[in-house]
Symmetry: C2
Subunit: 209 residues, 2 copies
DNA sequence: TCAATAGTGTCTGTTAGACATTATGGA
DNA sequence: TCCATAATGTCTAACAGACACTATTGA
């Protein structure tokens, strides 16, 4: 009989960079995981993510990995979940948990490395299909923060004027009416994610590979 | 202890439309499934798909579904796989298997309906990220066939000139040198999928939602 | 010759990206 | 005043889609 774990790779923006949540396991670090013995999968994954990362903005299955690679629980199968945490909620993690840089994921055991990789790839792949970048931010954010979240997920710089034009064309955000002063420079207006109005008819077939 | 199945939703082009592979189970129809008791997941899924659908061009995990919905095996968990079958290989399926129209998937039990839906959504979502449309075709194909495969997956018409321009810009296909006469009309040149040369730097951030 | 399909050239409106400029705060 | 950041306007090259046209076969 197979033993099954749920493993979650949670990401948040820390110190202007992407970070992944790990927990201490003796002398090592691991991704949060829990045994699964049946029942509602989504709820079990949500519970695991919430206990480890606090408020979770987004959660999705990212893959399944077998005993080809070693795992902290030696489970015969592990379901990988990707989670995104708003950075204002990322401070309150349990004592034995910590946000670590992406480079640190090579400290994980092989299966959890692959889980973290798959989770990151899933999130990156979905940036332009679903509002995942928003899930790294609080409900109200500046356009500079939103752009930076996209840049961190995409791994490349984004053109400011084009970014804002696209946001405007898609009617994706709406101003809250509030402004935020951050050090020096002109204050930035705060925005929130707007409700979907109409989905734009997609342009032509693209070959992004 | 949870019982686990692998379920595969295999798609192919039949009669100029997308079809999904089902097998007879008594008086009902079901998606091909098999119990899984550990071992290499990808290999087990590939074996299941191959036994049901013959040559399989593409296979990918599409989701995981729990006992919230009924399943032919009453498994507590089912891993959904999406498979694509080239239409020239789709004739040789076992006697108790048949290619059925997409509309027939509401004859499946609820969990397998969701599996088929998730598999179809996955394939559609990946059309512009990976050469999945090619996996519905033989190694050599006409551009009209390739365009039709994209149209079936995307569920909408595609502009011929733009489609070919994009193919050309991406250097995605190369002519085999052979031509095919099909009834009346000018013969069509045959193409094959070209090896990736350079991945074009993706354009700006797009919000396709 | 006609019908049918393959394949291409041209035009136009839209958009991405470069660049510059204005706006508004703190030091 | 100077500097840093926000926000926007203008220009251009690239591209998507419409349309028409040529090319090549079978009936």
């Amino acid at each position: 009989m197979p033993t099954l774990t749920l493993d979650v790779a949670a990401f948040a923006i820390r110190d202007d960079d992407l970070a992944v949540l790990m927990r201490r396991a003796g002398a090592r670090w691991e991704l949060p995981w829990a045994r699964h013995d049946g029942g509602a999968l989504d709820q079990a994954a949500a519970r695991l993510a919430r206990e480890a990362a606090g408020r979770v903005g987004w959660l999705s299955l990212a893959g399944a990995f077998d005993e080809t690679d070693p795992h902290p629980a030696n489970a015969s199968l592990s379901l990988a979940f990707a989670a995104l945490v708003p950075h204002d909620a990322a401070d309150a993690v349990p004592d034995d948990h910590a946000w670590r840089t992406l480079g640190d994921r090579d400290r994980l055991q092989a299966r959890q490395q692959r889980i973290a990789d798959a989770a990151l790839a899933l999130v990156r792949d979905r940036v332009d299909r679903a509002p995942v970048a928003f899930r790294l931010l609080p409900a109200a954010f500046t356009l500079a923060e939103l752009q930076r979240a996209h840049e961190l997920l995409l791994g490349q710089r984004v053109h400011k004027a084009s970014f804002r034009r696209s946001l405007d064309a898609a009617a994706l955000v709406e101003p809250t009416g509030e402004w935020r002063t951050e050090g020096r420079g002109r204050p930035a207006q705060l925005y929130r994610l707007a409700k979907r109005k109409r989905r734009a008819a997609p342009r032509s077939v693209r070959f992004d590979y």
